[in-house]
Amino acid sequence: MKNLRHLFIFALATSIAVAGCGGGQEKTGDEKTPASETPADNSLVADKPAGAVDPKGIGKFKTVELTHPLDEAMVKKGQEISEVKCTSCHKLTEEKLVGPGWKGVTDRRTPEWIMNFVTNVDEMLDKDPEAQAMLELCMVRMPNQNLKDEEARAVLEYMRKIDGKN
């Protein structure tokens, strides 16, 4: 149930917040709004307004300095980490396994978005429209694999290597 739970919790939290505002008003039994008249909170699955998307995602990474040429030591470390924590679900090609293939990811996403997604998975999946769109496609929440910041950076370098960056 763990996966679905997040959806419910989010929906619940929102509805509680909404209900909380109404709760402040003194109401008699007669005046209570019937449950059927309270609209469901569909914010999680609703289409997102265009233009409000931050290409850097949500999280602490606002600016990621890229290395030129690639830092090969970091690439090696990134490969080692991904073989333990990532490649069970991500192929290095464009092919989707559990999650999307990694080929081209550094062209599709900003480095900040990748770093934020890897280190701040749950908030990104709950709030970032791009991450949520991927969730609707894959239907499995990306596990938080608890990568440290420098480990996430190494994985990013490995992704850049796969994409032929220099």
Binding site: E83, S88, C89, L97, V98, V140, P143
Partner: protein
């Protein structure tokens, strides 16, 4: 139940008392609901660790809600998560008499520093096959189980000293030391049977348990015990029954004398004797099972020697204090000045004063000897008696304000009384027939107080009926005010005996959320799918498998034959809180596995017939959990189907090519 002989009396007493007892409605105060309501998503104030009795396990409840948080597998196998079935945990239940998959778990003790609960470890006794377990309170996992040599049943245990220097293990059944044969009659009992009090030394950094020494006492039953604290630190006190030394019909024969004893052991002096080389080495055999964090696996060591001390030869470290009558509780107050005996058949509660006890030894105020051990004059050690407190006092705990709370099995109540003047202050009924009670921190130098919990032996009509067998009930009372107030009933697992409680703050933030996959040193770990493989060694087949949302790798395995022992070593690659994966295979005659994130667990399976054996994840992990499944093909013995494995199309080639 140790006090089963009192049941009949209790039932009669209940019938009589029920007219006098307040009804539940009138007994519960108006704000009880508010005081026990923990809103959804909020945490309880305290962790309550409750012994599971004949279930062999330990239950964890939240107080004040009474919500069951977890059942910790300790002395009994647990097919739900594979404890005692997986290759890694089987060794935890080894004894000198082989694999023992259950026990009778009575008492718990939280580790202490300076006489306060420190939230590091929880110790649990096994009353049947004498053992003590240490549970780590970071991972909530049984990390070590040590067996006790020369013990007939480890009851007065695992009580501990104020800096967790020692955990105690006293035998409930006297037996011939060395466990040789003896005729069963009262004469042979007196001659051959002995009791032992074992002092288990605890390593202050790792918690590792070692039987440091064992005191050989005259044959009698050691019931409960408590360490001295503060001024009485350095002493240990045990209650005893059957000082009559009967081997049969103890219900009558062990209830002859007006007074049994509290055995007082000066363990600092015993330590000196051991250091001076005066202890005797005795050949014996017992085991210690240790769970190793890094390999996620347990090992068993056989120990073949124990140091013993004989108080009839080495003087001045064991004394007896007469105590009426078949005492159960033997409890030391927070100041360490008073020792309270609770005689199951006594009509009063004797309170002994530590200072008077010490002076009695100095003055040699002895009334004689019992099997070579000096017996102190009752009055010389007595602080006073609580008169007519109730029927069948069992066990006493304390608050921080000088009050004591004693449970009464026969009259089914908790009685609050004052340590200072020994006056009864308040009494409340329990539902029904209370055994132990527990005040949070009530056994320490600094009781937390606020509540007392009754752990009852009889449930009857407290919950919706569930046939002849009912869950035992516990009751939570407030002790904030002058009067105790019933707040809540909650059902428990097995049979609760003693319990411990600790403020949530001392434990919750240290709780392990997952195991670091990079620190996993399991010999069969697959750290990443690249490391998955299947190896054959004769008729042993080792599957290095990984689990991650939502697939197992490999999930197709062929080339297994009838007669093979297949070891599924499953590594959970997740690194997030609360994402265990399960592993189950059709027709496994043992259990499933629950594998925590970063952990490796092994299920051994020996298929008996050719065919296809589905396997799958049992712990709902994602939207595609149902798809987390695979097949093992088992061929007849001698078949030429080659060993191969894969997950997904492309990997087949890779796997076979690698082969």
């Amino acid at each position: 139940m140790k006090i089963s002989h009192l049941l009949l009396t209790a039932t009669v007493a209940l019938a009589v008392q029920s007219c006098k007892m307040k009804s539940t409605e009138s007994a519960v105060g108006g704000d009880a609901a508010a005081r026990t309501y923990v809103a959804p998503g909020k945490y309880d104030e305290l962790y309550n660790f409750v012994s599971g009795g004949f279930s062999g396990q330990v239950a964890v409840y939240g107080i004040p809600s009474g919500r069951l948080l977890k059942v910790l597998p300790v002395f009994s196998v647990n097919p739900e998560n594979g404890y005692g079935y997986s290759e890694e945990t089987k060794a935890m239940l080894n004894t000198s008499h082989g694999f023992v998959p259950w026990d009778d778990q009575h008492h718990l003790a939280l580790s202490q520093t300076n006489g306060e609960h420190d939230g590091r470890w929880l110790f649990a006794n096994a009353n049947n096959s004498p053992r003590v377990a240490r549970i780590d309170l970071k991972a909530f996992k049984t990390m070590e189980i040590i067996e006790l040599p020369n013990s007939g049943g480890n009851h007065s245990s695992p009580f501990l000293t104020e800096n967790t220097e020692y955990v105690i293990a006293g035998t409930r059944f006297a037996i011939p030391v060395g466990n040789q044969e003896s005729a069963l009659d009262n004469e042979s009992f007196k001659k051959n049977f002995k009791s032992t009090a074992s002092f288990i030394g605890i390593d202050k950094n790792t918690g590792k348990m070692d039987v440091s020494f064992q005191i050989i006492l005259p044959g009698m039953d050691l019931d409960l015990s408590r360490a001295g604290k503060g001024p009485s630190h350095g002493w240990f006190f045990f209650s005893t029954y059957n000082t009559e030394q009967a081997s049969t019909l103890l219900e009558v024969n062990a209830s002859q004398k007006d007074k049994d004893f509290i055995v007082a052991v000066n363990w600092k002096k015993a330590e000196e004797y051991v250091k001076a080389g005066k202890a005797k080495k005795m050949a014996t055999e017992y085991v210690r099972n240790t769970f190793h964090e890094e390999t996620h696996s347990a090992t068993t060591e056989v120990i073949k020697e124990v140091l013993t001390l004989d108080p009839t030869e080495l003087k001045d470290f064991v004394y007896l204090i007469p105590c009426p009558k078949s005492p159960h509780g033997c409890d030391v107050d927070p100041s360490g000045e008073y020792i309270v005996g609770s005689g199951k058949l006594a009509a009063l509660i004797p309170v002994f004063a530590y200072q008077k006890f010490v002076k009695a030894i100095e003055d040699k105020a002895f009334e004689g000897e019992y099997n070579g051990i000096p017996v102190i004059k009752y009055e010389a050690a007595l602080h006073g008696e609580v008169q007519k407190p109730g029927l069948g006092p069992l066990h006493t705990e304390f608050d921080a304000n000088g009050n004591a709370y004693t449970s009464f099995f026969v009259s089914s109540e908790i009685v609050k009384w004052s340590l200072k003047d020994l006056k009864v202050l308040d009494r409340v009924p329990t539902y029904y027939s209370i055994g132990h009670l527990m005040v949070p921190g009530g056994d320490t130098r600094k009781p937390y107080g606020k509540y007392v919990v009754a752990y009852n032996k009889i449930t009857k009509d407290r919950f919706l009926p569930t046939g002849p067998e009912l869950a035992q009930s516990a009751q939570l009372y407030s002790i904030d005010g002058d009067k105790m107030q019933l707040l809540l009933d909650f059902p428990t697992i097995g049979e609760p005996h003693y319990a411990q409680a600790i403020p949530a703050e001392k434990i919750k933030d240290q709780s392990v959320k997952f195991f670091d996959i990079n620190k996993n040193k399991h010999p069969y770990v697959a750290a990443g799918e690249k490391a998955t493989k299947v190896e054959r060694k004769g008729n042993e087949v080792h599957v290095y498998m990984t689990a991650i949302r939502s697939h197992l790798t490999p999930d197709n395995i062929e080339g297994i034959q009838v007669g093979d022992d297949v070891y599924f070593h499953v590594t959970n690659l997740e690194q997030d809180w609360d994402i265990p994966h399960g592993f189950a295979i059709k027709h496994a005659p043992t259990a499933e596995l629950l594998i925590m994130p970063g952990e490796t667990s092994t299920l051994k399976f020996s298929p008996k017939t050719p065919g296809i054996y589905p396997f799958y994840c049992t712990d709902f992990c994602s939207a595609l959990h149902q798809e987390m499944q695979g097949y093992m093909r088992v061929s007849p013995k001698g078949s030429n189907v080659p060993l191969k494995w894969h997950t997904g199309g492309e990997d087949t080639t890779r796997a076979v090519a690698a082969k």
